[in-house]
Symmetry: D3
Subunit: 131 residues, 6 copies
Amino acid sequence: MFAVEVRDHIMIAHSLPSPTFGPAQGMHGATFTVDAAFFTEALDDEGLVVDMGLATEALSNALLPLKYKNLDEVPEFKGKFTTTEFLCQHIFATLADVARKGGLGDPARLKRLRITLHESHVARAWYEGEI
Amino acid sequence: MFAVEVRDHIMIAHSLPSPTFGPAQGMHGATFTVDAAFFTEALDDEGLVVDMGLATEALSNALLPLKYKNLDEVPEFKGKFTTTEFLCQHIFATLADVARKGGLGDPARLKRLRITLHESHVARAWYEGEI
Amino acid sequence: MFAVEVRDHIMIAHSLPSPTFGPAQGMHGATFTVDAAFFTEALDDEGLVVDMGLATEALSNALLPLKYKNLDEVPEFKGKFTTTEFLCQHIFATLADVARKGGLGDPARLKRLRITLHESHVARAWYEGEI
Amino acid sequence: MFAVEVRDHIMIAHSLPSPTFGPAQGMHGATFTVDAAFFTEALDDEGLVVDMGLATEALSNALLPLKYKNLDEVPEFKGKFTTTEFLCQHIFATLADVARKGGLGDPARLKRLRITLHESHVARAWYEGEI
Amino acid sequence: MFAVEVRDHIMIAHSLPSPTFGPAQGMHGATFTVDAAFFTEALDDEGLVVDMGLATEALSNALLPLKYKNLDEVPEFKGKFTTTEFLCQHIFATLADVARKGGLGDPARLKRLRITLHESHVARAWYEGEI
Amino acid sequence: MFAVEVRDHIMIAHSLPSPTFGPAQGMHGATFTVDAAFFTEALDDEGLVVDMGLATEALSNALLPLKYKNLDEVPEFKGKFTTTEFLCQHIFATLADVARKGGLGDPARLKRLRITLHESHVARAWYEGEI
């Protein structure tokens, strides 16, 4: 299996209103370094998993609605806990949809996608699934 | 598949008394940066793989018997080569046991665990298995 | 010149309400990886710049009032732009004060302090000054 | 599953002569930080996946024909696009062959191999397969 | 002293035609991760050393003539050894000129500049001087 | 001022027999990632601070007496606390001596040297001085 992974980042505010989150219940924030890894079984005729420029642009576009946002005010997150792992799946869904619609080249080629969010130098989360 | 990974470290002395280990046969040591990744199929009601605070504390507790130790003097390692990969499995066993006993939330939720030990900027090892 | 540097982190929300900050004017947030470097001309009798355990604890204490906070609601930041470089100086002032009062050993020994805040994988800031 | 991963690097020139590669069509270059991860189901009698010294030497040998080279002039790459992912597979093939011939210990023990090439702080690729 | 540092990268080919460079005499290449650190004595009214967006854009512009280039064919490098440290000074000169002409805000504020080029995971160089 | 920095590592055992060191009083160990930075005012005729190959080899040689050692048994460390900062100065002295004797090229050119030891992902120390 081949993979190509590209990186970007977002800086967001949010609250996690449940006692489970202890000191993180109130409004705080995070820089998430975001890695998107695209998996395929075979390279195309130009030796590529995916065009890295295209992949980088698609990741940047997927992150745009989150960049410098207060996630508590993003309508589609209403009633959700915007944990690191939740955001991994959210970004996965956005990028997987782009891939399925051909935005990353032939939709039949990309098999899997993994989104990793590094929230600090000691913690990260990821979600990986089929496209 | 979702994962959450947390990081800690230990600083230990040990010897690896076999010609295989060349210059590492005698007493020397290592800083091991330790990553514990917890895997699950679905997030809980609060959007979590595992409570990161709980995971961090569990990792710290699992490492406590090794911190600042001479592994040659740890009774349960008697007769063992305490290689990086051996220690990955040892820490895996400790943390998997905590998970199975409910120390990391509902024992049915966490499916897999991966323990990675970085021994230098150019070498690391890991062990991954079902919980 | 000798130095010892220890690391911790904070996750905060804030806004930067001036057109200068473009998309960062509204409420957003950051993970700041924080490094505190202590400088001295000569080691003490035990070969130390500063007790690393003490330095780590002092840094953690200095960061406590900021951890998981919305900086817009911290009274002493009222009317200030809580930029990365501003926060470097703020944490510097807190830790330098601890050092001057003997909280990091003999106050005559530590000469300089540098506080670095990494705000993402592509940007960081620091403040360095005499203690 | 156990794994041991070792790191080395190469600094190469090449061109990628297709419009797909945009600004990278002409002669340019890259530092590739190369990680080789060896996977096995069980440790040997000395607690090893693979002798790390042997693995490091094998990786270094595998990279030797590429070190400080202009890949456009390497005969076996004629007519190929030497993309990051292509090079992952190329190095995989070299190292897997070494493993199969016993150059990394008992050929029956190592099961899988993954070669990762980091091409910058924001992009990397890998190839993983059975040995 | 305050500093703000931003990061970008370039991927170039070049040769270093002198026996001093051993295996690097022929055409090869490098990814250079480039850090530009701007120093000032006092923050401006908005708590800034320099507008990070402006600094990032200025660094990107300074690197543009080098991105994906064969440095052996860049006219102004004719007869020069384009070593890592030489390139640090070259990029320094470009960015310092931008700063002096007001491209990074009030030219009287920025005092020093440091350009760091990371050429691999085990080597880097930098040049620091007054603006 | 120009600088070139190269990296290597050592894995050692030692004890720090004073109550100051708390849990690190007994035999334990560390991986030290070691950076050696060489400073000069002007590049030589080939655009170099120092020949990187020579610098890397000199650092490796300087570390050889420490590699895989129990520092408690190294005669010249008898009665010393082999703290991270003490080792920085020790390696500095070794490499500065090599530089003064011409082992790194013209002894008049290199002005300063900085030795950094990273002891974990959260702590490091360095010593910088004139050669």
